[in-house]
């Protein structure tokens, strides 16, 4: 054992985090928690980008992770503003109660 880490372990970790994010998105009913699950998914994808950047010895993967981060920040700002508006108008964060577009 040289103390080095196999590259695939990083990819496995990324897969586990991605699946947990999907689980949170499916099982949770609170709209903020679902939003945080999306952030978890994006982080898992970022880890994959950085891992492949290491394997290819290229900096391009880091830039993709950077762009994902920027888009996630913009998404969080707009999404949380929408959540604020929804809560002011409806008084709930439970997605089961937010079904006015169904009819």
């Amino acid at each position: 054992m040289t103390g080095h880490v196999p590259l695939s372990w990083f990819l496995m970790l990324s897969a586990v985090l991605f699946s947990l994010g999907v689980a949170g998105f499916i099982f949770r009913r609170n709209i903020i928690t679902m939003f945080m699950s999306i952030e978890l998914i994006l982080n898992a994808v970022n880890l994959t980008f950085i891992t492949f950047a290491y394997q290819r010895q290229q900096v391009a993967g880091h830039l993709f992770a950077f762009f994902v981060m920027v888009v996630a920040a913009a998404e969080a700002a707009v999404g949380l503003a929408i959540i604020l508006t929804v809560f002011k108008n409806r008084g709930t964060l439970n997605i089961d109660d937010l079904d006015s577009m169904k009819n």
Binding site: L7, L17, N43, I50, F66, M69, A76
Partner: protein, 166 residues
């Protein structure tokens, strides 16, 4: 040494990610998510991504999660009530997720039968200088488009928050 660092922080990331999904109250999920992001920043450092690790801590664990915690505290909606879940989600959810995970692990094992061994310092191209050089030469157009995206996000957030004030 690298192996110990990986195992410790990967363990923290997985446990905190499970906590994000399991916790009833959003604020507990948010704090757990900060732990996930912090441990991921350490793993980025291990992979030689210095700039992205710093950006992870500043942008994600700093700015984005502060925004989340701020909104949770502002709304103060309390814990999630255990609602009746749909039949499909309760019966098929866990098997489908396990299948997804197994599929991802299978493809990873197929594509990488002979692993690259990761060690600290194995990739030195992730400095702020290297990232900045690539960002302002090869990827200049995406970078400029990103600035327009952020401008749109600012305008959208202000419009939505203003509507809420009226």
């Amino acid at each position: 040494m690298d192996l110990i660092v990986f195992l410790v922080f990967a363990g923290v990331a997985v446990v905190a990610a499970i906590n994000v999904v399991v916790q009833r109250h959003p604020i507990s999920s948010a704090v757990s998510l900060i732990a996930v992001m912090g441990s991921l920043a350490v793993l980025y450092l291990l992979l030689g991504a210095e700039f992205i690790a710093a950006a992870q801590v500043i942008v994600y664990a700093g700015a984005v999660m502060v925004l989340f915690v701020f909104v949770i505290m502002l709304l103060n909606a309390g814990g999630e009530t255990k609602a009746g879940r749909s039949f499909v989600a309760s019966r098929l959810g866990v098997p489908v997720l396990v299948a997804l995970l197994a599929l991802l692990a299978f493809f990873t094992a197929c594509i990488y039968p002979h692993d690259t061994q990761v060690h600290f310092g194995g990739f030195r191209g992730g400095t702020a200088e290297a990232v900045g050089r690539a960002l302002f030469t090869t990827y200049l157009l995406p970078f400029e488009i990103t600035s327009i995206l952020i401008l749109i996000a600012i305008v959208g957030a202000i419009v939505l928050a203003r509507k809420e004030l009226e």
